[in-house]
Amino acid sequence: MLTLEGCSYRYAGAAGASLHDVSLTLRDGEVLGVVGRSEAGKSTLCLVASGLAPRTLGGTLGGRVLIDGADTAGRAMHEMASEVAIGFQNPGTQLSGVATTVYEEVAFGPMNLGISRDEVLRRTDASIDALAIRALSQRDPERISGGQQQLVAIAGLLALAPRHVILDEPTAQLDPAGTRLVSDAIERLAAGGASILIVEQKVDLLAGICHRVLAVDEGRITLEGAAAAVLGDPTLHALGVAEPSAVRLRRLGSEAGLSEQAIEGALALATSRVNDA
């Protein structure tokens, strides 16, 4: 369980805070989605929850970040990293830059955990298969496409078998099938008891996998609740967040004077497979 209590954060050299009095609890086995317009504070929230802010980034943190109820203030970054894994928006930031093959890249994290060689290989293989990147395993991670790099970065995170995972737009560059592989991997991680905080612009993805969703605006949490309720909230549009496909079709249908029955009948024909995309 990861808890933020009244967290505010100001970047080093910034005039004001980017995050104001944010409190949230990420329960074990829970997938918590975060939505909001660009520069609303979503990535900052990820950095604070992961411990990188302020440990690596400097700046000033107010409030507390707790793991299983214990304050993490005194913990060094490597101690935080063993509890909380973070996946960045840009896979270029994530890749180690030292691995010469995709396989080594995925193995890089677990190799640094001090676990047995067999366990490293087992986790590496399992992560590579989970994201269907076996065909890339001998390629240079610097010389594969942007979307492929994103899958490799996420495989590297999975191989750490983290208890808490923070994901900042993990599917931004992915095709629909890659997006599905990532959402399946997230659901499996959560089913295994890990807690996941995921920032995404793809609201259909969040609608498919999240238990709860938060909306962030100007560094504050403005909405919080069950995924369907928050993602269907009419005020979300004004915050610059896209509507899920089904919500948009309902709105457009009713604006065009279609009966609720006709719209719901049409939506029922769309399988969840497509809804998730």
Binding site: S38, E39, G146, L269, V274
Partner: protein, 271 residues
């Protein structure tokens, strides 16, 4: 305005010998809005990097208005084709937003009022006028991406190539990108975009090309590419038809690739 013509284009990356583009013939008319879709690693980015001479074909040719691109200088091509990268950080280098956007048109020879006007128009198009003095690295990732778009827009090239322009954009950012494409189209410019956003491509482009393993497997209007008999081909390149396309086909309403076309078809049947 130039016509682009790819003839038997092949590109093999020296490292690993990967045939990223494996025999593509594609003619793109002046003023066309063309979207390229396909799974990650299907060769989309490699293909478009030939259009501004960033890559030279291993085999085949790229013709810009009938002239082989390899016979054109970088400067000549830069007048014709502007390419916006997927990752803005590969593109941005200047110390201020203004300097970044000025760089391209200045290199094309624009000066004085002409230069100022090109820069101001481009910044306004992406909503970055208030940030002219800002260091690009003080902008968030989504606005850096809009900055990269503005710096290519300012060059006023006849062809605009956008590699995943909506990635990481919120709803407002996506609207800005749509508007930029619409304005470029109205001005008669050719727009070529790579995207994984099926709604974005179905709503904003007349023609969609689908790539798989370095080849073109579908080429047509959104109605053609998203209709039911294309679904298995889409699936083979890890894509899925849009939600309205699926509903339209299942209701027997024909090909309805956009929300608007589905709602229209539903309204007709219930009337």
């Amino acid at each position: 305005m130039p016509e682009l013509n790819l003839e038997g284009l092949v590109y093999v990356y020296r490292e690993g010998g990967v045939r990223a583009v494996d025999g593509v013939d594609l003619r793109i008319a002046a003023g066309e809005r063309l979207a390229i879709i396909g799974q990650n690693g299907s060769g989309k980015s490699t293909l478009v990097r030939h259009l501004n001479g960033l890559l030279r074909p291993t085999d085949g040719r790229v013709l810009v208005d009938g002239v082989d691109a390899t016979r054109m200088t970088v400067a000549q091509l830069a007048h014709e084709v502007g390419l916006v990268f997927q990752d803005p950080d590969r593109q941005i280098f200047a110390g201020s937003v203004l300097a970044e956007v000025e760089y391209g048109p200045r290199n094309l020879g624009l000066r004085g009022r002409e230069l100022r006007s090109a820069v101001e128009t481009a910044l306004a198009a992406v909503g970055l006028e208030p940030e002219a003095r800002t260091n690009p690295y003080d902008l968030g990732a989504s606005r850096r991406k809009l900055l990269a778009l503005a710096s290519v827009l300012a060059m006023g090239t006849a062809v605009l190539v956008l590699d995943e322009p909506t990635t990481g954009q919120d709803e407002r950012g996506v609207e800005r990108v749509r508007a930029v494409i619409g304005d470029a189209h109205t001005a008669g410019r050719t727009v070529i975009a790579i995207s994984h956003d099926m709604r974005f491509v179905a709503e904003g482009f007349e023609r969609i090309v689908v790539m798989r393993a370095g080849r073109i497997v579908l080429d047509g209007s959104p109605e053609q590419v998203f209709r039911q008999d294309s679904w298995s081909t889409l699936e083979s390149t890890f894509l899925e038809p849009s939600l309205p396309a699926v509903i339209g086909e299942r209701l027997g309403l024909g090909s309805t690739p956009t929300d608007a076309s589905l709602i229209q078809a539903l309204a007709r049947t219930s009337a």
